[in-house]
């Protein structure tokens, strides 16, 4: 499987309860301690990169879509937002908090807040980085109690869809024996 094509976090709204566990997991995973109690004891601020929204009666979490030709990366004047082969992320040390990335993100996935960067208080942009430095993968996916969140690779999704289509075709053939034998 080609893992070079960047993965993204997919949400299944039918499974999402709107419990906000993913938000907590996200905020905790990006602290030095890596957990909420440790962060609170250290006086560290907690910021989530994802957000649970409600659309009519359905709840689901939203986060960065990891655009390949990302507008935020293109607009960033200092190169703080960058794209690797598989994900986009922000280097908060370079961020000047001009909010241009917020203005151009079609998914509202970036916000600016005051935080401590390299020992100094400053305003900087926050966005989902797929927890690239976390051995267990994205914290939100791991924490979701109903497995509504999953890390998907586009090639994997396409592969599954093709498999499903092929199976459907075989099933149709099976149900219409005379059609198969007439070939």
């Amino acid at each position: 499987m080609n893992k070079l094509e960047g993965p993204f976090i997919l949400v299944n709204p039918e499974r999402c309860l709107g419990c906000h566990t993913c938000e907590l997991a996200c905020a905790a995973a990006h602290t030095t301690a890596g957990n909420i109690i440790g962060a609170v004891l250290a006086g560290e601020k907690l910021y989530r990169r994802n957000r649970v929204v409600q659309v009519d009666s359905v709840k689901l979490s939203t986060q960065c879509r990891q655009c390949e030709d990302a507008p935020c990366v293109r607009v960033c004047p200092t190169g703080a937002l960058y794209r690797t082969e598989t994900y986009t992320a922000v280097d908060q040390r370079l961020c000047i908090a001009c909010r241009l990335c917020m203005m151009v993100c079609p998914f509202g996935a970036i916000h600016v807040a005051t935080t401590e960067v390299a020992g100094r208080e400053k305003a900087a942009a926050f966005k989902c980085d797929l927890c690239v430095d976390r051995p267990g993968g994205p914290a939100c996916v791991e924490a979701c109690p109903t497995k509504a969140l999953s890390l998907k690779y586009p090639t994997e999704v396409i592969h599954q869809a093709t498999q499903a289509a092929a199976r459907q075709f075989l099933d149709a053939l099976e149900s219409q024996k005379q059609l198969a034998s007439s070939q």
Binding site: T62, P71, I96, C98, M103, P106
Partner: protein, 256 residues
């Protein structure tokens, strides 16, 4: 990679690194006001002065000095400390009301300045003329709405003729980057007021929730990014809502 020594401790940093970056990589603290990693070095505040004893002896502003192979950097020798303390005393004399400056000075053991207090009309001065706001506006944003005005004692930052700036895009990066909080900016209804620049920028109203969000002068982004044209004035929360709705509808029509 370049090998150098900071306070007797060996450090290896990539080529093109500044002495300040190498010093911080070695875990040594140096105060700075005019330094920002996202902008070009400027060397205005003179707080990061260090002494280099090899390959030549020099007292340098570490933020603007590139590393060299075999360089020996000393941050705590009296020559360097005296230079930093002098800069701090000047700053303390200019901005005695600034908590940032007072704290920075206290850390280096400086609580009073030999150069007296500012004249009464400038008693509450917070600007240290570090130039970060001017540089971020020109270098990063490209608007160049503010610049240094005047010389010597009269030097300060402002818009041309101290009137409403047509070049300001209302991003607020100047206020965010200011190390001493000298730039006053506030959002009042659909107006973003940059008090220090005598400039008011209109904010678009989010058509869904009515919050004020996008500054009007940023409309040029719409032409640069055609993909956001129909959601331009939406605030981030409403954009999330919109994206979520689209996803639900898409799933209903073509389930993956």
């Amino acid at each position: 990679m370049i090998n150098l020594t900071v306070n007797g401790q060996p450090v290896t940093v990539p080529d093109g690194t500044t002495v300040l970056q190498a010093v911080r990589a070695a875990g040594v603290e140096l105060p700075t006001l005019c330094y920002h990693e996202g902008l070009a070095p400027y060397g205005a505040c003179r707080l990061c002065m260090v002494v280099i004893t090899a390959p030549r002896h020099a007292l340098v502003a570490s933020c603007a000095y590139p590393v060299e192979e075999g360089m020996v950097v000393e941050t705590n020798v009296p020559e360097a400390a005296t230079a930093r303390h002098l800069a701090l005393e000047f700053l303390l004399s200019r901005c005695p009301q600034s908590d940032v400056i007072r704290e920075m000075a206290a850390k280096e053991g400086i609580t009073t300045s030999r150069f007296g207090a500012p004249p009464p009309e400038r008693a509450d001065e917070l600007c240290v003329l570090c130039g970060l706001c001017v540089r971020v506006c020109r270098e990063a944003i490209g608007a160049a709405a503010i610049s240094f005005i005047g010389r010597g004692m009269e030097r300060r930052v402002g818009t041309p003729f101290d009137v409403q700036s047509d070049a300001c895009i209302g991003c607020g990066a100047c206020a965010e980057i200011c190390p001493t909080g000298a730039i006053k900016m506030e959002d009042q209804g659909n107006k973003r007021i940059l008090h220090t620049w005598h400039t008011t920028v209109e904010l678009h109203t989010c058509p869904q929730c009515g919050r004020f969000f996008v500054p009007e002068p940023m409309s040029f982004l719409k032409e640069m990014f055609p993909e956001i044209e129909d959601l331009w004035a939406l605030c981030p929360e409403c954009r999330q809502q919109r994206a979520a709705r689209q996803w639900i509808e898409q799933r209903a029509t073509s389930p993956v």
